[in-house]
């Protein structure tokens, strides 16, 4: 009897704990998930079938579902959450244009044209509609620019921050066409690379957002892409999108399910075993350690593309601290061992960067000398900076102060942690001292970015990872990270007159030739003055199930892009 009572008590406790703890999912999709198997091709009639027989129904060869694994930290899945914005750029929020892996731009939400690189006209692609069927118009583009201005951007009106610093408006004016399909945006100064900024420009629905101080979750998930948001479940860690029936060119996939992982090991095991069809992280390929494992099987196809991002950058504060002295920047650059970064941090396809900083596939790339270790030359730069080696083999200044600097980096980025350790090892061996300053993202931003530090950048040297989009923003070549006047970035704090002159020339270029000439000058400036250096260049390697073909890779968003869902087919 007692045993029965005990057993019943146990069952009751367990049932109670489940009942008490079970909570409803964020949003419950109406249907149960479909299988991951692709639709089987239906049988077809022979070509010489009798005319009297009714024509066969068109065969739907669409893929039923693709499951994408991601470690993106998504908590709300609404527009405005950075990680979700990057993800939805490939599903519900297509940017105005997209860039292929060769660097060419193509229309996505809008056609584009310019005659002088100053006035850019964007015309919404025929048939583009919001989820509720309302046509997308150029007024939505204008509304988005104005909406961003209300939230601190300087698109159409200049912004003044709390310390009186003015950021000039990016556009000098605009003109809407009578049919509201086109908008001509006139830049304050010409930019032949303006399209690079539009690869991440997503449009907000004016008819939903206008006049509202608060928006519902559904309103904040509104889109105009080839997919419609269906559900976000924290219980299952999934975000589901279903194919839009109104998108001009329907996707070849009926459903996309993004599976959120906290753990990369589990995610790559799931990819190898075929539980998920691909993995995705914005502007990040598969780490080298996993590439070798994935390549050893047949289940996964690895796709490598030349990257225009800079995965690991050592940026110096050129305005304050020890690296205001150019000699010390040169000395550190010459004291590092670039083979180590390539071998121990990069993937098997990693390469040693040039002194001109930007990767070879960058628009306007110019060949400059490769970075190399040269201790003798580095020591000469130290002498020029007023440092001499003491008996202990350490560099000290004339007043006996040791050569030391603080290196700030993101402690949640494994490649930055590894690079920081390698830099410390190299500089210690050279005769200096590095204080490692690993920070969380918010604290890091508050030390390395003009916007988040409110123009109070305090880092001496910092490690960065620049995305493709970031490298191309503004006048390109990563200049937004170098230019001390930049409203958001400006980590390197360069206010040099020569830099500003070249930057202005890049901005004033009206033809690609003019731009390339100025871009070459900028790379020469980087090589000559070393405001920052790349630690390694790397191709981006993406992983997708080997059962797919006709895959399209986007330069900014990798495999998670609108065009991929349209072209992809099953073998």
């Amino acid at each position: 009897m007692k045993k029965k009572v005990l057993a019943m008590l146990l069952v009751l406790i367990l049932a109670f704990s489940f009942a008490a703890c079970a909570k409803k999912g964020q949003t419950a999709p109406a249907t149960t998930p479909e299988t991951t198997d692709a639709a089987k091709p239906a049988e077809t009639k022979p070509a010489d079938a009798q005319p009297a027989v009714p024509a066969p129904e068109p065969v739907d060869t669409s893929i039923d579902q693709i499951v994408i694994g991601t470690t993106a930290a998504i908590e709300t899945a609404i527009n405005g959450e950075y990680a979700y914005d990057m993800l939805s750029s490939g599903t519900t929020q297509p940017p105005l244009v997209w860039q292929d892996v060769d660097g060419n731009y193509h229309p996505l939400l809008a056609e584009f044209e310019t005659a002088d690189a100053k006035t850019w006209t964007y015309t919404i692609v025929e048939g583009m509609k919001w989820d509720d069927g309302t046509p997308v118009t150029a007024e939505d583009i204008l509304f988005t620019l104005e909406y961003e201005d209300e939230n601190g951007s300087a698109n159409l009106k200049e912004q003044t921050d709390s310390e009186g610093k003015v950021t000039q408006a990016k556009y000098a004016g605009y003109e809407l066409s009578a049919d509201k399909r086109s908008i001509a945006l006139t830049l304050a100064s010409p930019n032949v690379r303006e399209l690079g900024n539009m690869t991440s420009f997503r449009v907000l629905p004016k008819h939903i957002y206008e006049g509202k101080s608060t928006l519902t979750e559904a309103e904040q998930r509104f889109g105009c892409g080839p997919f419609v948001f269906e559900s976000f479940s924290r219980d299952s860690g999934t975000i589901t999108f279903v194919r839009s029936e109104t998108y001009p060119q329907p996707a070849n996939v009926k459903k996309l399910v993004y599976q959120l992982f906290d753990n990369e090991d589990t995610m790559y095991m799931a990819l190898s075993s075929g539980d998920i069809d691909m993995v995705w992280a914005y502007s990040t390929g598969i780490a080298g350690t996993y590439q070798e494992v994935l390549a050893s099987g047949d289940a996964v196809r690895l796709i490598s593309v030349n990257a225009t991002n800079a995965p690991a950058v050592l940026a110096f504060n050129n305005a304050a601290g020890p690296f205001a002295d150019e000699n010390l920047r040169h000395a550190v650059a010459l004291a590092l061992n670039y083979d180590d970064f390539r071998t121990y941090v990069g993937s098997p396809t990693a390469d040693i960067p040039n002194a001109g900083f930007v990767p070879t596939s960058t628009v306007g790339y110019k060949q400059t000398e490769k970075l190399k270790t040269d201790i003798a030359a580095a020591e000469k730069y130290m002498e020029a900076a007023g440092y001499t080696k003491n008996e202990a083999g350490k560099f000290v200044s004339s007043d006996g102060a040791p050569f030391t600097f603080t290196l700030t980096f993101r402690s949640d980025r494994p490649n930055q942690v590894s690079c920081a350790e390698l830099i410390k090892t190299a500089i210690d061996a050279f005769g200096g001292e590095v204080i490692l300053d690993g920070l969380d993202s918010a604290s890091y931003n508050a030390k390395t970015s003009n916007k988040f530090s409110e123009n109070n950048i305090t880092m001496e040297a910092a490690l960065f990872g620049y995305t493709s989009a970031g490298m191309g923003m503004g006048n390109g070549l990563g200049t937004i990270y170098v230019d001390g006047r930049h409203a958001v970035q400006g980590g390197c704090q360069v206010y040099d007159e020569q830099f500003q002159t070249i930057l202005a020339a890049m901005g004033a270029a009206k033809t690609p030739e003019e731009y390339n000439a100025a871009a070459g000058d900028m790379q020469d400036f980087y090589a000559e003055h070393t405001p920052l250096i790349g630690l390694y260049w790397d191709s981006l390697t993406y992983g997708i199930s080997a059962r797919f073909e006709n895959i399209t890779v986007d330069n900014a968003f990798g495999l998670n892009n609108v065009n991929n869902w349209i072209t992809i087919t099953e073998k």
Binding site: K2, L10, I13, L14, S17, F18, A20, C21, A22, K23, K24, G25, A28, P29, T31, T32, P33, S162, E163, S231, S233, R234, D235, S236, G237, T238, T240, V257, Q259, L260, F261, D262, N263, D265, T266, M269, A270, S273, S411, D412, D440, S441, A442, S443, A446, K447, S453, E454, N455, N456, T458
Partner: protein, 326 residues
């Protein structure tokens, strides 16, 4: 009875100390309390930012008023504000604690039951081959970290044998009310619970086994054996009564320990519970969130201790009826 009243007093005193320390530490430590209470470093904030946060956090008011505000935030359940996650701490914890409890409560119960029955059995038959084998096995298991247990189980039972899922607590499309929801939820929880149970059971087993082994030679046990009572009756009717108190106390303590232990399990099984929240808080130096989690964990611990003490009072006739009646 006095012992339990003392325990109760100690638990409440500890709780009060945690509350006071939570309030006082950011204000007493060197440096600007704004930095501690926002999680942002002092030198990284401009003067305007510091003033903004100082006003928002009411640091310009007197200490008693600040303490009153702090107590009010505990009583109304908001527990402060996370500037890094831009949300009240209570809403962050409320959104996550359910997931953690779904793993930890069953794991606490199961590991306690395993520890109780197996430990009692082996303690009664101490030094038998079975006892020696169990001791060796569970001592080894006690040394294996929980992440390793989880990964081995995932590889064996999720990827090699497709028995269990390995992400989240539900399948996509499953929600309360959908047919099969409960079965799906149980299937998802099985492996994390099993992992946590395996990680927690050895310590419970060893406690019970050693306690049982110590009383196995007591006269009342020998007498029961001589009377020809069955081993099960001796174990559960005689020995259990005398070792129930340390077992119940251990059970109470293990609730809060399991919340900490689920940190790794939640990461591996991609379950966004308190463990994930605490990891984020530590990683981003989100002090208000860490303080909130510390408060909630302490509260759970105090409640557990009080509950177990009350249970001990209820089952101990010496306490319940007074020493003179025993």
């Amino acid at each position: 009875m006095k012992k339990y009243l003392r325990n109760l007093f100690n638990a409440l005193a500890c709780f009060l100390i945690v509350i006071i320390l939570n309030f006082a530490l950011p204000r007493l430590l060197p440096g600007d309390p704004v930095a501690y209470l926002t999680g942002f470093a002092e030198e990284e904030m401009t003067g305007a930012q510091v003033e903004h946060y100082r006003s928002a956090l009411h640091l310009d008011e007197s200490l008693p008023r600040q303490f009153a505000r702090y107590l009010r935030s505990l009583l109304d359940g908001t527990l402060g504000y996370s500037y890094k996650k831009e949300a009240p701490v209570s809403s962050l914890i409320r959104g996550r604690i359910g997931y953690t409890l779904q793993i930890t409560l069953p794991a606490v119960v199961l590991s306690a039951m395993i520890g109780l029955f197996w430990g009692l059995h082996c303690g009664y038959r101490k030094d038998s081959p079975g006892d020696r084998f169990s001791n060796a096995l569970l001592i080894v298991l006690n040394t294996v970290p929980s992440f390793l247990i989880a990964l081995v189980l995932i590889i064996a039972l999720c990827f090699r044998r497709r028995i269990f899922p390995y992400t989240g607590v539900s399948s996509a499309g499953m929600a309360p009310g959908v047919p099969g929801f409960l079965a799906d939820r149980l299937l998802h929880l099985a492996l994390p619970v099993f992992t946590l149970t395996l990680a927690a059971a050895p310590s419970r087993y060893l406690l019970m086994r050693n306690t049982a082994a110590r009383i196995a030679d007591e006269k009342y046990v020998l007498y029961a054996k001589q009377r020809g009572l069955s081993p099960k009756r001796i174990q559960f009717s005689y020995m259990l009564k005398n070792i129930a108190q340390p077992f119940i106390t251990m059970l109470g303590m293990s609730v809060s320990l399991c919340i900490g232990g689920s940190l790794v399990i939640e990461n591996i099984f991609s379950i966004g519970g308190m463990g994930k929240l605490l990891t984020d808080a530590v990683y981003t130096l989100d002090y208000p969130l860490m303080q909130g989690i510390l408060f909630v964990t302490t509260l759970i611990m105090v409640i557990s201790i009080i509950a177990t003490d009350l249970l001990c009072i209820a089952i101990d006739p010496k306490v319940r009826l007074g020493e003179s009646h025993a």
